[in-house]
């Protein structure tokens, strides 16, 4: 083993003013004061927002609180296919299906609950949805409630959440990933499942609702 060499470093001597420590203190304070005044008067671009009076506009693609989209007549677009519940890694989506009165739609969710405390905001549910029925484009990033139970949001609440009206101007899609079609509000992709408009003149009566659905031997 080699002997350790010792190198002696001469410390720089402080001069007189530095030895008083007064000048560096005022130098530092002047930087703080400059930013303080600039922020106060708004003479520079602010990084902070006046939360909660002012809400930050989230960039496009930000995965906020979920919402359920609506058909033109305001009913829920979801057909309860359970793709989102199947793919969900946190197991936070609970759906129960029921019969839709229109035989061409056939199925709709009776219960659609999302447990926001369990949710990991991965966005898989949005990817999996064949009907563009669930989105996370609300821009809502503040999830709060007074009680644990209130974090489980139901179908009615999910339907009322609106998309964020405009996305941040500086938001840009990640490099190498084209923007997904159908993910900006109001447009729809041609691949999305929705029963096409059909002729009215069917030659077989559609099934009667509810009462007839119960098996007679029950």
């Amino acid at each position: 083993m080699k002997p350790v060499k010792i190198k002696k470093v001469q410390r720089e001597e402080l001069n007189f003013w530095e030895k008083t420590y007064l000048v560096p203190i005022f130098q530092g304070m002047s930087v703080t004061a400059k930013h303080f005044v600039a922020n106060l008067t708004g003479s520079i671009d602010k990084v902070n927002v006046d939360y909660p009076e002012e809400q930050k506009v989230m960039p496009k693609g930000y995965r906020g609180k979920h919402r359920l989209t609506q058909r033109d007549d305001g009913t829920v677009k979801c057909v309860a296919c359970m793709m989102c519940a199947t793919v969900c890694p946190a197991n936070c989506i609970h759906i129960e299906a029921e019969e839709h009165e229109n035989p061409e739609i056939e199925k709709r969710p009776k219960i659609f609950d999302i447990d926001l405390l369990r949710c990991v905001y991965c966005g898989y549910c949005v990817e999996a949805c064949p009907c563009d029925a669930i989105r996370m484009d609300s821009g809502i990033y503040t999830i709060f409630a007074p009680k644990r139970e209130d974090f489980v949001i139901h179908k009615d609440q999910l339907l009322q959440i609106k998309p964020q009206s405009e996305f941040a101007a500086d938001a840009r899609p990640k490099q190498g990933m084209p923007a997904l079609p159908g993910h900006s509000a109001g447009t729809s992709s041609p691949q999305i499942f929705s029963p096409p408009a059909r002729a009215e003149n069917r030659d077989t009566e559609p099934m009667k609702q509810d009462s007839s659905l119960a098996p007679s031997k029950d």
Partner: protein, 530 residues
Amino acid sequence: MPLIKIDDIEFEAPAGQNLIQAAASVGIEIPHYCYHPGLSVSGNCRMCLVEVKGPRGTMAQIACNTPVADGLEVQTQTPTVKKMRQGVMEFLLLNHPIDCPICDQAGECGLQDYYMQYGLYSNRSTVPKVEKAKVVDVGPLVVLDQERCILCSRCVRFCGEVTKTHELVLSQRGEKTRIETFPGKELNNPYSGNVVDICPVGALTSKDFRFKKRVWFLKSTNSVCMGCSRGCNISIDHEKTRTYRYRPRFNADVNQWWLCDEGRLSYKQLHHNRLDSALLKGQPTSLEEAVKTASKLLQDAFQQHGREAIVAIGSSTASLEDNFMLKHLLLQVNGPETVYGPNYDRWGEADNLLRLADKTPNTAGLKLLEIDTSADALEQNLNSQVKLVISLDNDAEALRKLLSSTQAKVVFLGSQASPLALGADVALPITMHAEHYASYVNAEQRLQKVSQAYFPTSEARPGWKLISEVFKPLLSAPPLYADVEDVWSILRSKYAPLANLTYYEIPDEGVSLAPKEEAEKEAVIAAHES
């Protein structure tokens, strides 16, 4: 046996088999829709096209309608065959609505499976799809979607050949062809649920199962239907601790591919009106407390009034193990046996396909255990000397009336919260067939086992376990029964037909306990008659 060659595998196949069966026996799957082993060959879906070498070169033939013959050479994986399958899939999907998100068949659909294997993966059609009726109510158990139908006619053949009720028909022609019920007819035969199982696509779906659960969430456990003494083999489809449906499981000797509607819907009793906790005169209590009370009642009756004061009533709804344990332990305590097993109210319709009049699964099991199943014998012996009656899952209203006319105390072990359970001095909850390992003997002397699908959600325990707990204080050397195999270790030593069996070695399709010669004789007679 003819020597054939499929995909360079040369083997002997039994004469009479078709190419689909022969290929399956060596592990080659030939895709098919319209062919079903339980029905006649229709040959209309064309999915099973294979290349067969003939005198005029290689030709495409449907495998389902080609019987094996000596020297047959078949290719199932050539580019031509794959192209044919792709073409057939394209035609079948031409007018299919592709509404998988709302279709109950999704996940177990023939179209989905074969599309992933052989599909074209793009759409060349430029004309709008043909529209037919959706959500057509064809019967009490079945919903029809004509658009999803690929017109394989399995359901039509089932109603024609198996039930012979002829409710369904293919009507109109060409692209307008559809499945319909005959005018004024309804698909309401007692086996109508089978058309849902045999439908390879989502055209016929179950009204009872409709939208309840996506099938990929369900797990299947092999079991036996408790609906009647036929003991049809079933799969219990369940998620966690809830059963959603029964599906028939193939057993050549019992039910073939079928299951009656009554049995199919009998899964509901697993969740309906269950006895969830132990009861003392109708009041809920802990299981330990109730078992202790039952033991005390038993001890008092035995010590104060002697052996004739105790009568046990088994049941043909309970398993072989439960009934055996009741008889075995009572015999040890009581000397001469006083176990009866009358079936009061579980009788119903029978037919010559599957259903039997005796609607309990284990009557033959009681006979095997030499338990008297006549109601008269029980009534004669229920005299004023009897101070305690132990009823194992026998909660018939007639029995309740009979017991209330005596002064005897009642210990009830059962699965249903029946009036008898609520009125009994002690009621102990026992598990049902989805919640325990047990065996049952069907009307044809076939011993079949059920497997535990999930643990009971309540305090319920297997009947044999609770019975041994109740009898424990009375026995000089209480035996330890921890597993169903422990019960079997005594069971097989007592009864000759079970001598060479262990519980876990009972095969999934069951074991026939009938003496071999007789079974053969019956088979000969049956063959002669047909």
